[in-house]
Assembly symmetry: C2
Homo-oligomer: 189 residues x 2
Amino acid sequence: MQELITYLLQFGYLDVTQRELILSKARWKAIPKGAYFSEAGKISREIGYVTDGVFRICYYDKTGDGFTRYFVYENRFVVDMNSFRDELPSAEYIEAVTDCQVLAFSKEDFTELSNSIPGWHDIFFKITSYVLENKLRYTSNMLVQDAQTRYLHFLEHYPGLSNRVPLSMLASYLGITPSSLSRIRKSIR
Amino acid sequence: MQELITYLLQFGYLDVTQRELILSKARWKAIPKGAYFSEAGKISREIGYVTDGVFRICYYDKTGDGFTRYFVYENRFVVDMNSFRDELPSAEYIEAVTDCQVLAFSKEDFTELSNSIPGWHDIFFKITSYVLENKLRYTSNMLVQDAQTRYLHFLEHYPGLSNRVPLSMLASYLGITPSSLSRIRKSIR
DNA sequence: GGCGGCAATTGCCAAATGGCAAATAATGGT
DNA sequence: ACCATTATTTGCCATTTGGCAATTGCCGCC
């Protein structure tokens, strides 16, 4: 659980009492491979800090094909922020790609922490805007690159992740078909 | 200036005194076409509410080619949030694509508002996370669509904008070459 | 250990997009 | 209004990627 505190401290100061208060609210939660942490159409009532495993944020089109928008893995928060913040239905699914462990905070506990800890807001503002800005920059850049470049950047930027997620999910994240990704892999070997 | 208040009220409540305080801090600023509101490498010390004109957030590669990541136009805030928040160098340029007018707040005034107005933080947390989440969703979706679909979605989603920005900037936003966009336009007529 | 089902690879061909260069149109400055 | 410059369009062809189907590989289950 110390990892969570270390992560939070990157974004703002918390004294020992505050750290203990935070940890006292955290609840371990296991999400088995294939299960959802949050579902489209439902309100996301928990925010999770991933201690083990990989999630993907995804949606399904009318034909049932799933599209992976991005992956969330160890030492990152996972949540549909729009849904969690305003208690609105989620736009998409958060699915465990592997068996996952998270430290979960309910909306109520999160709000209480936000009332008890003056810097809480700031910390989450920083985390949210920093992470989203970076994801957005990364994703926009992908648009102007060819598929192989995108794949190589993925390998660099998320070392080890390519071996933890199915090729089909990675392909849809990269915006290409599984066949194309398979061919790109072959051409690199 | 009322537009700014109307915009803010979408994200949280502000009483009359607070509204007046906000407006008292706002400074009109004109940015002529081609000028920068914020530059890569420099600290973004102002946040602007666009009342007139179109900006693009962009960067340049080593060969000097400019890539447009997205456009910001009337009734939206424009800022490099990572730079403004933490006073770090910006990663990219904010360039006026047309002559622009903004209501600008300095970092100092913004901080003062944040100290005087209890809901200020919440409002900006909502705006930032909401806008970034949506942009990110929109951009990831573009990855899995073909160029013509992306262009048609752009026309739908940003009506009128295609006539206000040069084709070359729109092409790089869409992740295609100017020639390809020109051909797509032709094929639609 | 064998079977069934899903995931990944591969071949073949079609469609989409890029690269380059030339032609044309639009724009800004004087 | 004219010129110079830049933006856009277009043609031609190369490259990339997709679609589909068949094959192979992998993994869990009995």
